[in-house]
């Protein structure tokens, strides 16, 4: 019986060990992005914008032309890239501190202008690279190094729900929240990222996918427990779903 290869690594994904911690889900999201780039034949015309945080090293793993943006500014940098080079496929990859705190203005306005770019937003409710400080998405009661007694609604406010906010903006063609904690959700994440990329390819508008992900190190959890937390605590707070899809709205 001859061997048949049924599962392989996308070529655009570097064959190296990553710097990500065990149980971190950036690697899963990187792989899905890489698969989508290849399936749409985008690798050669892609310009990626990496942001500040653990995923700044995106360019070590997804082997496409990349520019590094200052903290929170990836949507503005991506705007400049896309305006300068309209034939390029442009995506930004941001974490929750980067996108929902310091970069709130840039993401809101890039989305509202309907920039023909795609933003992958990885939400793990914590600042990972700096050592687990409170993020704008940290859940009420969640302990971090800067809210050691747990985030307090009266003191720090509650977690920001970016997908729900982004979906209200006029320039947005597609906006969804997914997770990568189960096989089913991984498949759903891939469908969402494919659709977000498609909106850019078709010139429909701005595409946004929020992916709920783990940070076992800064959650002080095992990989398995961290993955379970996504389903038990995060998804009830951050419901999964498609919040806007311009293509479907046009249908009767």
């Amino acid at each position: 019986m001859s061997e048949q290869l049924v599962f392989t690594r996308p070529e655009v994904l570097a064959d190296v060990a990553t710097h990500y911690c065990p149980g971190c889900q950036h690697g899963v999201v990187h792989r899905i992005v890489a698969e989508c780039l290849e399936e749409f034949g985008l690798v050669e015309k892609t310009i990626a914008v990496s942001s500040i945080g653990c995923s700044v090293f995106l360019y070590n793993y997804i082997l496409v032309d990349t520019v590094e943006a200052p903290h929170g500014r990836a949507p503005a940098v991506a705007t400049g890239v896309k305006r300068a080079r309209k034939d390029a496929f442009v995506f930004a990859y941001q974490g929750d501190g980067d996108l929902a705190s310091i970069g709130m203005a840039e993401i809101m306005h890039a989305a509202n202008r309907g920039e023909r770019i795609s933003v992958i937003f990885v939400n793990n409710t914590v600042y990972g690279m700096t050592g687990g400080q409170m993020a704008p998405t940290t859940m009420v009661g969640q302990k971090t190094t800067t809210c050691p007694a747990g985030r307090c609604m009266e003191r720090e406010g509650g977690p920001i729900h970016m997908s729900e906010i982004i979906a209200t903006l006029g320039g947005v063609a597609y906006c969804a929240r997914t997770a990568v904690n189960t096989i089913k959700n991984i498949a759903q994440t891939k469908r969402a990222i494919r659709r977000a990329f498609e909106t850019q390819i078709n010139g429909e508008g701005f595409g946004f996918v929020e992916v709920l992900a783990t940070c076992p190190t800064n959650w002080r959890m095992s990989s398995v427990a961290a993955n379970e937390r996504v389903g038990k605590e995060m998804i009830p707070e951050f419901p999964l779903g498609v919040f806007k899809d311009a293509a479907k709205e046009e249908q009767p």
């Binding site: 700044v56 032309d65 990349t66 520019v67 503005a76 400049g80 305006r83 300068a84 496929f89 306005h109």
Partner: protein
């Protein structure tokens, strides 16, 4: 140079200079006294086949500039002092990532919100880096509407020659006044510009990464040594106007609009027989050190006049150190100087020694 001159504001001259130099992306945010630039480019840039974006902030417009620069496209942003403070983050990243772009600062009064009138309060910010880290930008200081046009045109050539941000440091005077301006033959867009470094999508080649993060052992030191050598090489770009300096006992040093006003004072005092001249730096970085040092070696004395508390005077003193010193007269932002305002301080300095 085309024979026909147009009568325009300094701000508009900057817009024309950019377009004629092949600038095809402009990002900006409203702030007085430079609004003529985004207003004219909001229609002129799309008409030239380029992109105009009114950004949500100066933070964003400077980062859009960074993105367009990474693609090797000639791009510009403009603002005035408070807005340029917000751009320092992106300018530092551009310097650290070797990205070319043009940033216009039509200096207004400060600190804080200040006023909307002229000032030279942003000299230090412009020539000493401005943002975090250890870097330099080329700084060009126009003193007329023609120079607004010419220096903006040439700023793009310099930006791409050195892969570095270039600042145009004007002020509310030169931005708002109108003069006849001669335009040059527009440069054709060169699709090959930056071919060996710009992002285009990797195609069949290896992927390119434009970044300012260098964590590996020795990597940042290597980058900083390379940047130092680049800044040293920029010394050949030095430009200045020397007016009646040959037989002068006193050389007044002043830049931009103030240099222009001082020139009138010098001319009037010359007519009265005073041996006074003007050295007007046109590049503030690189600073015209050699010519100042040469003048100091000839035994001349110096008076630096600025529209601030005294900033460029530090660089004049450094240039002539060991040979001479420079006196200083500061006309403070909030008022607009006339040639007569400089009459007494120049006279006193001529008599000085």
């Amino acid at each position: 140079m085309s024979a026909k001159r147009i009568f325009i504001k300094g701000n508009e001259a900057i817009g024309h200079g950019a377009l004629d130099a092949g600038c095809r992306c402009y990002f900006g945010y409203p702030i007085t006294p430079q609004n003529d630039i985004p207003e004219m480019l909001s229609s002129a840039m799309p008409a030239a086949g380029g992109e105009f974006v009114q950004a949500e902030s100066e933070v964003a417009s400077a980062n859009m500039l960074l993105g367009a620069a990474a693609c090797g496209v000639r791009a510009m942003t403009s603002s005035s002092s408070p807005g340029v403070s917000l751009m320092q983050e992106a300018i530092s990243y551009m310097a650290g990532s070797d990205l070319p772009g043009v940033i216009v600062n039509m200096n207004r009064g400060g600190p804080g919100l200040g006023d909307i009138g002229p000032s030279q309060g942003d000299y230090f910010q412009s020539v000493k880096g401005g943002g975090h880290g250890d870097y330099r930008t080329l700084v060009l200081a126009p003193g007329s509407c023609q120079e607004c046009y010419d220096l903006t045109f040439e700023a793009f050539e310099l930006a791409f020659k050195y892969r570095n941000p270039v600042l145009i440091l004007g002020d509310a005077i030169v931005g708002q006044m109108k003069e006849p301006v001669a335009r040059r033959e527009p440069l054709p867009i060169d699709p090959a510009e930056g071919a060996d470094w710009k992002l285009t999508g990797r195609g069949q080649r290896a992927p390119r990464i434009l970044k300012s993060l260098f964590l590996d052992d020795g990597a940042l030191a290597g980058q900083n040594i390379r940047l130092r050598d680049k800044y040293a090489a920029m010394a050949t770009e030095v430009r200045y106007e020397a007016f009646e300096t040959a037989d002068a006992d006193l050389v007044v040093v002043a830049y931009g609009s103030i240099g222009r006003i001082v020139k009138s004072t010098v001319r009037a005092l010359r007519a009265q027989g005073l041996k006074v001249g003007l050295l007007r730096p046109i590049t503030l970085f690189p600073f015209p050190e050699a010519v100042l040092r040469d003048l100091a070696g000839q035994g001349k004395r110096f008076l630096t006049i600025e529209h601030n508390l005294g900033q460029m005077v530090d660089d004049v003193r450094l240039a002539v150190r060991g040979l001479a010193d420079s006196e200083f007269f500061g006309f403070l932002p909030g008022n607009m100087p006339t040639p007569e305002d400089f009459d007494a301080p120049v006279r006193a300095a001529v008599k000085g020694a």
